[in-house]
């Protein structure tokens, strides 16, 4: 085997941050090489240097044995490096072939291009009709367009940035089959992810980054997920403690909850019963009603009478503040602009939801000192890394702000807490702390609804699992004994996976 790509001592410094430090590794022809690391470990910077978006401060790169120093992505593509980004750049109103043509320097005539797309997609087991409009495609199919766009350039090195985050497990399997086929044809694949299980089952080697430095390049199959995680965080992973929970009397009853769709997805006759001390996990591909469900439960979206009852009390006509007073708390997915105001200090952000429960607002008057003290309390209890309560929320890293947002609700002693994507974009250490806090809260007798797209997280936390598909909630199943395949089928809904709805 020969090196397709080699990095020697790459370094990049941003103001105040050493993003990459003496990074050396090599990707060989025919291998799927994982790049593994927490958020902020330097994966993105490294990949941007390889793709010509950022220039390294020091060190060299070599592609196919020749020195390689791309000025821009165009030069990188010309040299044989292609990249599939996490977020797609496709025009909804245009067809597959038109979108592919837009990304090419000298596109061939449409009929010829369509034929090449069809041939290529058949060859790699990625069925795709070149004449279809992007708007009609699922996330998995959109990703295929991006991949085909890359394959048309005959890349020697293909970079995939967290490609499975938008896919159902079945769609991910199709993707891996394609990647394997590509690798066997001699393409080197650099695969970026922090999902340990999929790296262990599909990648040949893994280079692990921590704080901008290479920890090592290992065979992921020879290590357990825990060992890989430990290398990533540089410490033993804390195992979450699920003990001490006994589901008891029902605390939350939701019956026949439907909402008008508007711009999002309409909820259709959602029903669930949540018991005290229980964690109910709700999975689903993004855009199937997760946000809408949280908004309906938090009271942001008005709900019809008789649909939501907390410990027997009908709350369906109450607004967010009245529901919070009653003990129904929520933490939305979007930290900046929904769960918190980026421009406001942490102390001010406590006022968003904790005003009444923490006695920070009395008769309409804000007690600033109490707000600062409560913010300090959240910071201490949840190990939020920040200079203090006066720091603007927007200045915190994603993981730290998430700890703050979750901590603010957990310390509110909720009867029921609804969280959406509690550990999205959060590094492994912080994620473990957040999950443990949620488990502890349930152990103290609160009922929790955890909405997430991270199936491992749902399996780790929840007692029962249901899937949200196009605004419909499936019947719950006990998590114990549930396999990933069964979950995948639940997520796809009754119609099979291809229709799993993904918004533009």
């Amino acid at each position: 085997m020969s090196n397709v790509f080699r990095a020697e001592g790459l370094g990049k410094t941003y103001p105040g941050v050493r993003a990459n430090d003496d990074v050396s590794f090599a990707v060989e022809a025919g291998e799927i090489h994982a790049l593994l690391g927490e958020n902020g470990a330097g994966k993105s910077t490294l990949v941007k240097m390889i793709y010509g978006l950022v220039r390294p401060d020091e060190g060299q790169m070599a592609l196919l044995g020749a020195p390689y120093a791309p000025h821009d992505p165009r030069a990188a593509r010309a040299a044989g490096v292609a990249m599939v980004f996490q977020h797609f750049s496709l025009f909804d109103a245009m067809t597959v072939a038109e979108n592919v043509a837009l990304g090419m320097e000298n596109p061939p005539p449409q009929p010829e291009l369509s034929r090449r797309i069809a041939d290529l997609s058949q060859g790699y087991g990625l069925p795709l009709n070149p004449a279809r409009r992007i708007a009609a495609l699922s996330a998995g199919e959109r990703q295929r367009v991006e991949i085909l766009r890359c394959l048309l350039q005959n890349p020697r090195l293909l970079i995939m940035d967290e490609p499975t985050s938008v896919l159902t497990p079945q769609e991910a399997e199709i993707l891996f089959a394609t990647l394997r086929q590509l690798a066997e044809a001699g393409t080197a694949i650099l695969y970026i992810s922090h999902k340990l299980e999929e790296i262990r089952s599909h990648c040949d080697r893994a280079t692990i980054l921590r704080q901008g430095k290479v920890v090592g390049t290992v065979d992921p199959r020879a290590h357990s997920a825990r060992e890989l995680a430990a290398m990533m965080v540089g410490a033993e992973m804390r195992l979450v403690d699920r003990s001490g929970r006994k589901p008891a009397a029902p605390v939350l009853q939701v019956r026949g909850l439907s909402t008008a769709g508007g711009e999002g997805v309409a909820l259709k006759e959602v029903a669930l019963t949540l018991r005290s001390g229980e964690i109910l996990g709700i999975g689903g591909v993004a855009g199937n009603g997760q946000e809408e469900l949280l908004s309906a439960l938090s009271g942001e979206t008005p709900t019809a009478p008789g649909t939501i009852a907390l410990e027997g009390r009908d709350l369906s006509r109450a607004g967010p503040e009245a529901r919070r007073r009653a003990g129904l708390l929520a933490a939305p997915e979007d930290r900046l602009g929904h769960a918190a105001v980026p421009e406001f200090s942490l102390a001010e952000n406590t006022l968003l939801t904790a005003g009444a429960r923490q006695n920070l607002i009395r008769r309409g008057l804000i007690d600033r000192k109490a707000a600062t003290d409560f913010a300090q309390q959240v910071i201490r209890a949840f190990d939020v890394r920040t200079p203090g309560p006066d720091t603007a929320a927007g200045a915190l890293s994603g993981g730290n702000l998430q700890k703050f947002v979750i901590g603010r609700e957990v310390l509110g002693r909720p009867r029921v807490l609804v969280v959406n994507q509690p550990t999205w974009g959060v590094d492994a250490g912080a994620a473990a702390a957040i999950r443990q806090a949620l488990l502890d809260l349930a152990a103290q007798g609160a009922g929790l609804i955890v909405i997430s797209q991270d199936l491992d997280e749902l399996l780790e936390l929840s007692d029962r699992f249901c899937a949200l598909n196009q605004g419909r909630l499936s019947a719950p199943r006990p998590t114990e004994g549930l396999t990933i395949e069964e979950i995948g089928l639940m997520l796809g809904g009754a119609h099979g996976m291809e229709v799993a709805h993904v918004p533009a």
Binding site: E321, G337, H338, A339, E343, L352, T353, L365, A395
Partner: protein
Amino acid sequence: MFRLEPRASAPLLWQVATPVLAVLATMIVGGCLFAAMGFDPVAAIRTIFWDPLFGPTAAYSRPQLLVKAGPLILIASGLALGFRAGIWNIGAEGQYIIGAICGAAVALAAYPMDAFWIFPAMILAGAAGGWAWGMVPAVLRNWFGASEILVSLMLVYVAQRIAAWMAFGPMKNPEGFNFPGSRNLQQYEAASNPDLIANSGLHWGGVAAVLALAATWFVMSRHVLGFHIRTAGAAPRAARFAGVRPERLVALCLGVSGALAGLAGLFEVAGPAGQITESFGSGYGFTAIIVAFLGRLHPLGILLAGLLLALTYIGGELAQMMLNLPAATVQVFQGMLLFFLLGFDILTRYRIRRRA
């Protein structure tokens, strides 16, 4: 080449510095403009910005400063509430006119009675009139999603026509030799709003402006309502999550800013203006928008900006008399001020970097 780089946060220094820079740039460009028109730029700028305060006629123009700044500050402090929440009341001029008409109506109906309650009743009527005129765009936005910007602006022209109708019709002074315009309230003691200290320029409107500044400062910094207003402006979804009902905020902000503009109109018609005429609206409602932004929507800033804009009014008039500068000078100056302010504002959110 230069490029703009977003800042992590808006430094206080730049927030304070940009209004000052805008004023300086207005002076410089204004001076160039005057030079191009054949006037002495230094003399013109001095006449506008210096003479009203310290020139030979300052004894006359200094009280005028308070007369002009009062309504500007009163209106701007109300507008700033809505602007903080992202609710754009552009029609304060109309609310000012309607407030004046409603207040004057009470006085004219009571004429020539002499009773202590007449002036307080006029104040209530003025505030109610401005409130009602402000609630029209609020209701249309809440019920039909109509843009409050357009509706409030267009209602200004309706209010101006109503003022003309009043001056020629129902409110015309029966003893006025058929001239258009109402009775002069300055000559009706129970309804007049004279200087509290003779020749100081300070009438009840100035007192109301200071009270309004204090009240809005308290609400914005200490009360949960102000917190909700700021949240709605900074992150509307977070505001809804916190339990803010957007429709209520729209009604509240447009209603309060309308009421304050109506009050300004009432104090003007009962005081310096004296009567309802066809051209009662003199642009305070629009200039107050500049005052609010120049003052960074902050009570202290609004106080300073109100005084500065009042200065341009008086200085502009002085320049017309002394140097024969055109009457549009004031509007050009005020327009440039807002233009430069918005332009320099970019420096609070971005820094300029030389491209590598």
